[in-house]
């Protein structure tokens, strides 16, 4: 990722960063491989790595992972977005409303409604946090509540069934053997990698998170950068909401409830520092896969949900512990 020739200052910054993060990234990758091997051995006849199961894991990882990808941008600037789950539910519900067969809209219009909803809430977050100086934790906590309210408002908490086939296809369809959510995730990742590592904008994000004042003094419009990451997070959360809604074939108000903690965990496991400025999108992908492989594998082995919570808690703490040790 860092082989591109870049201005001297940035390349020094980046090489130092990747040096620090090397162990932790490497560590979580090893963790993932070990997990997969362990589950394969433990699962009956190795069906953990059967094609169907890998497809299941990747599909769920693609949907839930979208939140974590957006969260990575936010966390890199030193912020946090607690509203991702609520935005996901809200966008899903509004897109479901317009995707009802009785409404007669094209599936693409319904998707756009959802995405715009996420964009609007994300922009609201961004403006509050960057221009109006509301702390990210508080601002996104507030919009989490607002988004939940908006979700209930449209339906009085009733689910919305009867979606068009075109819309449902987004969550359940395939292109060849590959589920559509995985393709969407792949496209999103290509765009995000390009943004983060091949553009000036991406370097500004790292700069803002690393040292806000220095970034400001060097002429970066830090407010605009900070505002933009919340918009990205909003749009990606909305996309996750739309895909989930299409997948379960109806709009449900509870969609996305509590997903923010998983998203933050995925980012943290991937080695991105909550203090901002340090982290790798690649690590987040590993984090997403670890969480999803764990859930799926433990489910497959019949481990109770209570025990799963405990295991996941230890994994998150363990990952951060590794991170801390590697930063010594």
């Amino acid at each position: 990722m860092s082989n591109v020739s870049t201005p001297a200052a940035a390349s020094i910054k980046r090489s130092r960063m990747s040096g620090k993060q090397f162990i932790s990234t490497y560590g979580s990758l090893i963790g993932l491989v070990v997990l997969v091997i362990a589950f394969t051995v433990l699962s009956d006849g190795g069906r953990y790595i059967s094609g169907a199961n890998i497809r299941n894991i990747l599909r769920m990882a693609s949907i839930n992972g979208l939140l974590a990808v957006g969260m990575t941008f936010v966390v890199l600037t030193g912020g946090i977005d607690l509203s991702v789950g609520a935005m996901m539910g809200c966008a899903g519900m509004y897109s479901a409303y317009f995707a009802q067969a009785t409404m007669g809209y094209h599936w693409f219009a319904a998707v756009m409604v959802g995405v715009l909803m996420g964009l609007a809430i994300g922009l609201f977050n961004g403006v509050c946090i960057s221009y109006l100086k509301v702390p990210a934790f508080v601002g996104t906590l507030g919009s989490m509540s607002i988004a939940q309210g908006l979700t209930f408002l449209i339906t009085k908490s009733k689910p919305i069934p009867g979606l068009t086939d075109g819309f449902k296809n987004i969550g359940n369809g395939f292109v060849g053997p590959i589920p559509i959510p995985i393709i969407i995730m792949a496209v999103v990742l290509i765009i995000c990698f390009t943004l983060l590592y091949k553009t000036r904008y991406g370097r500004y994000i790292f700069a803002v998170g690393g040292n806000l004042n220095a970034a400001h003094v060097s002429g970066i419009n830090t407010k605009r950068i900070i505002c933009s990451v919340y918009v990205i997070s909003g749009v990606l959360s909305a996309l996750a909401g739309v895909i989930t809604t299409a997948r379960v074939t109806s709009g449900v108000t509870a969609t996305g409830d509590g997903y923010e903690t998983d998203a933050i965990a995925m980012v943290v496991i991937g080695g991105t520092s909550l203090a901002g400025g340090k982290g790798r999108l690649w690590g987040t992908i590993v984090g997403i896969l670890i969480m999803q492989c764990l859930t799926n594998g433990l489910d497959m082995l019949g481990v109770s949900y209570y025990a799963q919570l405990i295991v996941k808690g230890f994994v998150v703490i363990g990952a951060v512990m590794l991170d801390g040790l590697s930063a010594d």
């Binding site: 162990i23 560590g27 090893i30 963790g31 070990v34 997990l35 362990a38 433990l42 009956d44 006849g45 069906r47 059967s50 169907a52 199961n53 299941n56 769920m60 949907i63 339906t155 009085k156 908490s157 009733k158 689910p159 919305i160 069934p161 359940n172 989930t244 997948r247 379960v248 074939t249 109806s250 449900v252 509870a254 969609t255 409830d257 509590g258 859930t295 799926n296 594998g297 433990l298 489910d299 497959m300 082995l301 019949g302 481990v303 109770s304 949900y305 209570y306 025990a307 405990i310 295991v311 230890f314 994994v315 363990g318 512990m321 590794l322 040790l325 590697s326 010594d328």
Partner: protein, 339 residues
Amino acid sequence: MKKLSKILALIMAVSMMVLVFTACSNSSNTESPAPTGSQAADPAETGSGDEGGSTADGLSIGATYYTLQTEFCMRMDNAAKTWAEENGVEYVGYDGQNDAATQLSQVETMITNGVDAIILNPQDADACVACVDAAVAAGIPIIGVNTMVNSDQLTAYVGSEDVSAGEEIMNYMIDYMGTDSFNIVVLEGPMGQSAQLQRWEGINNVLADYPNIKILDYNTANWSRSEAMTLMETWITTYGDQIQAVVAENDEMALGARQAITAAGMDIPCIGIDGITDAVTAVSTGDMIASDFQNAEGQITGALEAAVKVINGEEVEKEIWIPFEMITPDNYEDYVGRY
């Protein structure tokens, strides 16, 4: 040196993780390889070969509950475990965490795991249609339990009729009051949930014949004791002793309302649905006049038995109804310590 300690820490962390989940899985997984290995062939053989009775031995059945954090669902899961042990069935119950998408991925996991049948206690009647579709596509029977799924693909459904529960508690309250002219307030479940809709329908079915019973007010307390308490306090302030009876769509809310009533130094009869432990106690002390018991054990065992029949190629009813049972001061002892 530093690197070494990091790598050591990593190895420790990973081995701890592996240890933790192998230890956890052992209890439910030790006997799994042998039965699951042969189970794929079993149903086919019983289908073509001897039709003698529906043996459950060696089958593998999975269940996903919309949550495992309420008493009712826990009771179903526990009863299923007991039943599975007695019948030699390999059983795994999943916690759907109130999330239809989670339930769907659990269904998919069960399919890859090669279960013989799936029991579905859906988070939502509409949102869980996708679960049914996934099972049907994989050719695995899927039995709904407790909450209906809006799909005609469901192999069978085992539940209790919430409409009749609403009717039963309303009728019981009228008998208790000994008059057909009084004022009530109604505590409702989360608006739009099928149990709320149907229990409300049942209450109103009865009231249609009693024009002199007046609903002073009704509102949702979301199945919650504390919300019901707050709501009841407001109603007591608003209506005072005009309220002559409280009809709650579940026990938690009836108990919350009763707490508010006692705190206000009043004595208004309350009735609820579900028959949870606290409600049985409340019936015994006279804090609730009755509770309509929803038979969690009956529902889940009914579902498991239906699943076994379907696997063995027998016919089952599309809808199997487990009746509610009224817990009253006369019979509450039968329900004490049942769980």
